[in-house]
Amino acid sequence: MKKLLSNSRFYVIGFVLAFVMFNFTMCPEKATGPSNEVSKGIEPAELKAFAKHAENAFLSGSKDSILSITYNEFAESCKNYLPDNPETLKKFGEALAGRKLIYGTPFYAEYEITINGEKYTLAFAQSGDGIWKIARF
């Protein structure tokens, strides 16, 4: 019990540290001077893990693997034009490795990828149950 209390103290310190960092070490909303910084929201660890999972699914070249981690509604539509050619899918997977987060929330994330110099966007989402899926590409 004593150990637990001792450890809890570090938990609280960590929490307070983050609070201080986020609230007292950042510029105020009306900071003077121009700022072109665009908020990208968040990219939780679960999302990052799923993005890697999706990348691997494309790299596997398996259409079924991709569709299995895609929202049903979109899968119904995209299964008709998602190619069977593994090379094309792999190319998308390779591009996904270099994804850039445009904006992320606890439920939704939009990424940008580049293939042959052309930019495309795709989105991952989860429905509140923590299970991330491909929303569109």
């Binding site: 001792s6 450890n7 809890s8 570090f10 938990y11 609280v12 310190i13 960590g14 929490f15 307070v16 540290l17 983050a18 609070f19 986020f22 908020s39 929201g41 968040i42 939780p44 929202y71 509604e73 979109f74 119904e76 539509s77 995209c78 034009y81 998602l82 190619p83 094309t88 998308f92 445009i102 904006y103 929330t105 606890p106 439920f107 939704y108 939009e110 293939i115 052309e118 495309y120 966007t121 989105a123 989402a125 989860q126 429905s127 509140g128 149950d129 923590g130 299970i131 899926k133 929303a135 569109r136 590409f137």
Partner: protein
């Protein structure tokens, strides 16, 4: 430091970071509170340029002096059993923001009753029916649409304790409640209800909520998948845009309809229809794109918008729509890598750029609708100064509501009223809508302005400002009386004429007095006039005193035979009957009943010196005969001719 301690430190840090960021996008703790609080700021900024006397009110929604104690959500939860409330002490503006958040609590029931399809595309149902086969297996469909829930104006909606209906009820109770503490508690509830109403309004400006497009469930719900995928507009919406786009031009046609609206329901339905008809949600895109596009959510297609009716810019893979506001909005894009056969055009989607573009059109329309909501939700309180009684130094007035469609019953105010006489304040009690402040005649006469207001803990309601009127420009004053003597042997008519022009009138504020004396060989006429106008009711007469003495010079045989006629008239008007026409430059007393109301005293004394003759018809003495008339015979014809009797 031990590894275990480091892990705990990181865990604590990570917990805060997770909590900090789990509050972004169109959900309750961030977007809706931002919508509501930005609306309050927008409103106060707008109102700060307005004269409260023109509006009849002044908003004090963010004034810390107006903190109101009430029950608020302090523990967010998925279900009622896991959601907690405690006492909070917030300003009305903060209660409005709080209502924006609390409307989504508990989150699971809220997730299914915050939908309103104005077109009732699915069997006429306006409530959420999309994906019903999935989630209804876990949670019973309440079958209630978002507007009836928020407004509480249907039997099903009555279940909502924080509806607009209850909010208005709390407002009315607060008006009638004499105890200041209880009044504040009622107002806390009322403003929280209004915050929840605005939450619904913001949902009506969010495409998935008005297009029967079920989307993500609350965070942490294990069967959240049943609600389907999150909507891009709702998820990619950045709350900071609310401030950025609040001042934008609203849709002129929607604005016209909103302005005409007499009920909160009309406002919400109009906004919902606008959003439904002009925007896609993520899964309700339809029309002719690279191919025929059907909604992903498996429901029927809405008749508008349609892809084929939008402007498509190939180089950008973007569908645009030009709105009557003048904005060119990005409605959807269809660039897709796997569709190279169709020149890289895939299934249309809404990305962050589209969301921001659409928000720039939707946010200004939310703002104008919210303003109308407030105008309709605010109790129609009228503070009126009914009477300024100079003689007794009293100011009397009323505070009550007038009837509107939202408030069909009149109620009277109980509580404090502040009466201002120039910079001096009188705090008086208003009971059942009536108040009276006691000052003094001299103070009221000197006062430049008089008004009253009530501090309704968030809104101050003002009376019309009674400004002291200027009369120095009135350069002519004309009074004309004819009096006949009823019952007199002579049946003589007398004419009393008071005609003063510019060089004779010297105003002292609201009054002037003048006397004149003219003599000729035959007569001497002496006139005195005192006029007092109402200082705060322009051109209304307060008091007139007229006095005229006519002496007809006549001597015979050394005897003074002068007849003296003395006329005296006092008029006092507290009922705003006598009005001075600046064009005609006269005061007209139209009816005998009006004259009766204002007449205080009228006398006509005729003193005749009657000669006494001897048998040679020579004056040898004088006999005084006095006739005194102080009544009016109202039975005689009234045509500016006063018939006097004894």
């Amino acid at each position: 430091m031990k590894t275990r301690n480091i892990i705990m430190l990181i865990a604590g840090f990570a917990t805060y970071v997770a909590l900090h960021f789990a509050s972004i996008s169109y959900e309750n703790t961030k977007s809706h509170t931002t919508f509501n609080s930005e609306f309050v700021k927008y409103l106060e900024k707008l109102m700060s340029t307005k004269d409260p006397f023109d509006l009849g009110f002044q908003l004090k929604l963010t004034d810390n002096l107006n903190k109101l104690k009430g029950q608020g959500v302090s523990n967010l939860g998925l279900f009622e059993s896991t959601t907690g409330e405690s006492e909070l002490n917030l300003t009305p503006g903060e209660w409005i923001a709080h209502g924006g958040m609390s409307a989504d609590e508990p989150e699971v029931p809220a997730a299914v009753r915050h939908f309103f399809d104005p077109k009732g595309l699915k069997d006429g149902k306006k409530y959420l029916s999309n994906r019903g086969t999935y989630w209804e297996g876990f949670y019973p469909n309440p079958g209630i649409d978002a507007i009836e829930w928020a407004l509480g104006d249907t039997p099903k909606g009555e279940a909502n304790k924080l509806s607009a209906k209850n909010g208005k009820l709390y407002m009315l109770q607060a008006i009638q409640e004499p105890d200041p503490q209880k009044k504040r508690q009622l107002l806390a509830k009322a403003w929280r209800c209004f915050g929840e109403v605005l939450h619904n309004l913001a949902d009506m400006a969010c495409p998935p909520h008005v297009r029967n497009d079920s989307h993500a469930a609350p965070f942490g719900l294990s069967w959240g998948w049943a609600f389907g995928s999150p909507d891009p507009y709702e998820e990619l919406f950045n709350p900071s845009w609310i401030k950025d786009y609040a001042d934008g031009q609203p849709d002129p046609f929607l604005l016209e309809n909103i302005q005409k609206a007499k009920t909160i329901r009309e406002v919400h339905e109009q906004l919902a229809l606008f959003t439904n008809s002009n925007f896609f949600s993520g899964e309700t895109i339809s029309g002719k794109g690279y191919s025929t596009i059907k909604p992903l959510n498996g429901e029927k297609e809405y008749s508008s918008p349609k892809l084929e009716n939008l402007e498509y810019v190939e180089e950008e893979f973007t569908f645009y729509k030009v709105f009557p506001s003048g904005r060119r909005v990005k409605m959807a894009k269809d660039k897709g890598y796997f569709n190279s056969i169709f020149r890289n055009r895939g299934y249309p989607y809404i990305d962050k750029e589209c969301v921001e573009s659409q928000a720039s059109e939707l946010i200004p329309n939310f703002m104008v609708s919210a303003m109308k909501d407030l105008a309709l939700f605010m109790p129609p309180i009228q503070v009126t100064i009914k009477k300024i009684d100079y003689e007794n130094g009293k100011i009397a007035g009323t505070v009550e509501t007038f009837k509107t469609d939202e408030y069909p019953n009149k109620v009277s105010y109980n509580g404090e009223v502040i009466v201002f006489i120039d910079s001096k304040t009188y705090k008086v009690n208003c009971t059942d809508g009536n108040f009276e402040a006691v000052s003094s005649k001299s103070e009221l006469e000197k006062a430049k302005k008089i008004y009253a207001y009530i501090d309704f803990n968030g809104i101050n309601f003002y009376s019309v400002q009674q400004q002291s009127s200027q009369y120095s420009h009135l350069k002519q004053f004309y009074c004309n009386f004819y009096a006949s003597l009823s019952g007199s042997s002579s049946n003589q008519k007398y004419h009393f004429n008071f005609d003063f022009t510019s060089n004779q009138i010297f105003w002292d504020g609201n009054k002037f007095s003048h006397s004149s004396k003219t003599s000729s060989n035959n007569s001497t006429v002496e006139k005195k006039i005192y006029v007092e106008m109402n200082p705060f009711k322009k051109n209304y007469v307060q008091k007139i005193n007229l006095n005229e003495i006519q002496i007809e010079n006549e001597f015979e045989n050394g005897y003074d035979l002068n007849d003296t006629i003395e006329f005296h008239l006092e008029i006092s008007d507290n009922n705003e009957i006598l009005w001075y026409s600046e064009i005609l430059q006269w005061i007209r007393i139209s009816t005998e009943s009006d004259f009766q109301k204002v007449l205080k005293r009228i006398t006509l004394a005729v003193v005749r010196r009657v000669p006494i003759y001897d048998d040679k018809n020579k004056v040898v003495g004088v006999k005084r005969e006095t006739e005194y008339y102080n009544k009016i015979d109202y039975t005689k014809e009234w045509n500016f001719l006063i018939s006097l009797t004894k």
